[in-house]
């Protein structure tokens, strides 16, 4: 379970998160929508401790992420994150990209890491690309590789930050299909997305962010068809 309690976060004098409360239960899929600069990405990086917070708490399975005593490297093994820019490691083949963390972080022997990597890459449809370098693949393939790379650590939770935003429209579908597959397998996920149709399909709940505040959170039918907050209405009207 991910418990976010009254989280505040500032960059300099700019307050980006103004008291966020959100609890995500195991198996739940929560999507986050909202305008540019509303703090969606920042929230994700505060969840896995890539960013510090000013006040409040993020607790993952009982571990306070921002407590001094928390081993973040250990915590991040159970919280995978995939970014808009997939950040393939260009000097490694697809297989090596996915094997690296299982080997170096989990300390698995080569054969075992390779077995896991092959399984995850097959899962995201890249079984044919094992020995290829990322530069030889499309953005969609690289993004799926990044997803496999995160999954290879067997995370309990996955955070996705607009993973289709940097892709050609033609390649968006294959990546969304991968996310749908994960959702249907019961992965606990928080997805920041601009794909409203996708959000409606996969989400248990949809959260709408506005200027650092979670203005509204509700099941998709309600949030999309009967939004309560005026800002949600405005945002949805603008995206249609």
């Amino acid at each position: 379970m991910i418990e976010i309690e009254n989280v505040h976060k500032s960059f300099g004098s700019l307050e980006v998160l103004k008291g966020i409360d959100l609890t995500v239960r195991k198996g739940e899929v929560v999507t986050v929508i909202g305008g540019s600069g509303s703090g969606k990405s920042t929230l994700l990086t505060c969840i896995n401790g890539l960013e510090t917070i000013a006040s409040g708490r993020v607790v993952i399975d009982g571990t306070d992420v921002h407590a001094k005593s928390t081993d973040l490297n250990k915590l991040r093994q159970k919280v995978g994150i995939v970014f808009q820019q997939w950040n393939a490691f260009p000097h490694l083949t697809v297989l090596e990209n996915v094997m690296l963390a299982p080997r170096k972080v989990l300390g698995l022997p080569k054969e075992k890491a390779e077995e896991i990597a092959v399984k995850q890459l097959t899962h995201v449809g890249l079984a044919e690309k094992l020995s290829v370098y990322p530069s030889r693949m499309s953005g969609g393939q690289q993004q799926r590789m990044a997803i496999a790379r995160a999954l290879a650590m067997s995370p309990t939770y996955m955070l996705f930050d607009e993973v289709t935003s940097a892709l050609d429209p033609m390649l968006v579908g294959e990546v969304l299909d991968t996310l749908r597959m994960l959702a249907s397998e019961g992965m606990t996920m928080i997805c920041v997305t601009h794909e409203m149709k996708f959000a409606r399909e996969v989400s248990d709940r949809v959260a709408f962010f506005h200027q650092g505040i979670m203005a509204e959170i509700a099941p998709p039918e309600q949030l999309f068809d009967a939004p309560q907050h005026t800002e949600t209405k405005k945002f949805l009207a603008a995206t249609h």
């Binding site: 896995n48 890539l50 970014f83 950040n87 490691f89 000097h91 690296l100 963390a101 972080v105 990044a146």
Partner: protein
Amino acid sequence: MFSYTFHWNQAFRALPQMLDGALVTLEIALLSMAIGLALAIALTVFRLSGNRVLSGVATAWVEVARNTPALFQIYMAHFGLGNFGIHLSPFTALLAGIAFNNAGYLAENFRGALKAIPETQARAGRSLGMSSLQAFRYIVLPQMLRVAFLPATNQMVWAILMTSLGVTVGMSSDLAGVTQELNARSFRTFEFFALAAVIYYLIAKAVTLAARLLAARMFRY
């Protein structure tokens, strides 16, 4: 007006001697690169350390190495330090001078290479649970090496050519030194220096070629 008659035989007879000198040249260049690399890594760490004294020393080193004549750097190592009672042999002074120069250029090269790797790369590593050291070691460093490799090769060639400045501090066993002595004995300046130039050229080309082949093997992406 063109009354000089070439005596190439004399030069070719001295070839074994000159090749021995070439080995010394190569030895100094390789040693100076090894020392220069180690120093450059230290300088790079110093510059990133955030410690004012360390980064000040490193910056000064890089500035002086890159913006003063290499000849002066070697002179300083020999005669300059001599004034303070530190007497380095021509070999050591030459090696120290070139290593000093190499370190400055390589440190700057490393800094550029580090800047060329987007921060998001290390961040991606960190988000997979790697420590910052692991992210550096397995993700940033290998990519840095590729960026830094060709400029470092150029520095190696430059180091080979710089060894010829050793004659000014009394170095006599390297290629330039040997050539200079042969010249002094025979006055066959053109022949000896032309032959030496060809040898320098061939060494430099061989190093560049070897580096290219190595790069093609190491950096396949």
